[in-house]
Symmetry: C2
Subunit: 385 residues, 2 copies
Amino acid sequence: MKDFIFHSPTKIIFGRGKNAEIGEELARDGVKKVLMIYGKGSIKRNGVYEEVTSSLNDNGISFVELGGIKPNPVLSMVYEGIDLARAEGCEAVLGVGGGSVIDSAKAIAAGIPYKGDVWDFYSGKGPSEALPIYAILTLSATGSEMNGNSVITRDDSMEKKGMHGGAITTPKVSIIDPSVQFSLPKEQTVYGAIDAITHVAEYYFNGSKELNFPDRLCESLIRTIIESTDVLLENPTDYDARAELAWSATMALNGMTAVGRGRGDWSSHQIEHALSAIYYIAHGAGLAIILPAWLEYTKDVNGDKIVQIGERVLGIKGNPEETIEELINVYAAWGAPVYLEDAGIPPSDAEKIAENGSIGYPLGSAKTLEKEDVVGVLKLASKSK
Amino acid sequence: MKDFIFHSPTKIIFGRGKNAEIGEELARDGVKKVLMIYGKGSIKRNGVYEEVTSSLNDNGISFVELGGIKPNPVLSMVYEGIDLARAEGCEAVLGVGGGSVIDSAKAIAAGIPYKGDVWDFYSGKGPSEALPIYAILTLSATGSEMNGNSVITRDDSMEKKGMHGGAITTPKVSIIDPSVQFSLPKEQTVYGAIDAITHVAEYYFNGSKELNFPDRLCESLIRTIIESTDVLLENPTDYDARAELAWSATMALNGMTAVGRGRGDWSSHQIEHALSAIYYIAHGAGLAIILPAWLEYTKDVNGDKIVQIGERVLGIKGNPEETIEELINVYAAWGAPVYLEDAGIPPSDAEKIAENGSIGYPLGSAKTLEKEDVVGVLKLASKSK
């Protein structure tokens, strides 16, 4: 087992109706004024906005709002949030939404006390302080509610980069009410599940040797995510399945899956970022196409682990190819694209995709990938493989 | 899935040689003077004392020492630590040892800023502040390195009570170097493993309904603890087995196993406390005797879960009795006592044990136990059951 540091200090409050506790949490921490950010308005339709603002009012917390955060959140909105929070004297940032909103909250919280340009933190420099961050999660997928990571796209150059602020930019409190996800469009549930599975896979298949508890933890998460998603596609208001999926997605990227393994591989994510940068495709959809192809491409180093998860989770005995095929079948049954063609991406674009600036070569830890390897992965992601 | 709060803010630094990082951690947090407490001196024989004090010196941290903390740590030592830390102006408490030392560190840290008697916190009142607590773990068993709990015995009345300080008394940083446990006597490894298994069992068998990820997490922990202990009895210096056991024991009581289940049952622990109070028996040894008997006694409510863990972990198909028998076999193979008689406790003392003040009736959550039920459990813990 490799050495590790595990530090995941977020207080998670989990359950039906718990969003109404946010005001009490802020008051307990002595926060009097908060910048509340959210997305395109779904929280006004599903009751979350009302629940949260009532709780703030009831607890005497004043708040300033910034709505309109979009998927693939952009730096210009982060600047807007920083300016607003400074002008209004906000003492904390509250993100109400999915990963994009929470990632933006982290960026704003780190930017407020910083004299320089917050983009520095997305260019390799770590933040040394941040305002306290609070989150109300409305879409289980990225795991941002329990880690210090944030991905922001710079509007003027379309560069998409990450900040890894560790405990400094980890939410102090995150509230997860699985029932607010009852009304999600089917594909958002599916893409969230695929994102979470891929987070686990980036660590499980990072080239580390077999582990006992850490491997079984990852396998338990992937099994639960698959089984819960299967249930939710039949019955989107099944509370237990929503709760199992939500908690598993949080656990998938709170540092627990990294224990004993070293750094994640992250090739699938980087290749997917190139897809998303060029084509109009959801992150989870791109991952559904890339992860199986990457597993196929790396089966010389990941073969034993693919067999292990096949046997323990998917009921496949001793065969990596069949295990990968079964994963593709699961994703296809959920309605996700599983080949480039399913998403309208021409396989002949492979070179162009591999050359996209979203990918920083060399890539990966299980197997080091160069441009020609990514072309190879993309070939395996084609129907004509 | 039941509602829950999960908050486990300890920074865990895990790996060989990591104890030498304690000085740097304290310096980063601005601590200049620390009260360092430890046990009966094994840390002076295994090199940990030298490693830790060198690190403190190298980082300019001055320290005051209090050695001699004993198993079942006592209130008088806690008072001594509080007085010493106050007199010397210590800003933090560092526990170097196993659960008894870390539990004492928490008591001292909570007592220093408190105007009243620290025993108040063991009599139902929660602490509202504490000095920061740091831990260097030398024996994996109680999980105290990653939770806010502390159990202290009041010397004058022999009352053994718990403080549950949550995040306030949770160590800020805990360092776990599994290799310092290479030299443990065999029975300490075994009793630590049994303590950890029982911590998982107190939640897994608490009467909650079947869960997906949370159940698999518990099963993965128990499997890993059993397999790692088996390896260590053959080869006590197997690093990976020490590491798997250490991390599993930490995970067994950091709040993760409680997710979605509500409160633990804790009957086995309370009955064991009565055994330890009357007879000279190690906590893990007492638990080896009590947990299987308690499972037998509660199989009308815990039957499905016993079958589930039997099938998933112990390779027993559909039979609670055989599963319990297999657990007894595992413990017996490790050299632990599995019946009262093995520990020299006369089964005819059952009434006396059940009347011991360590047990607060009614007991348990899976099944509510009164005095006659505890007598029933103890009958099943006898060879002549």
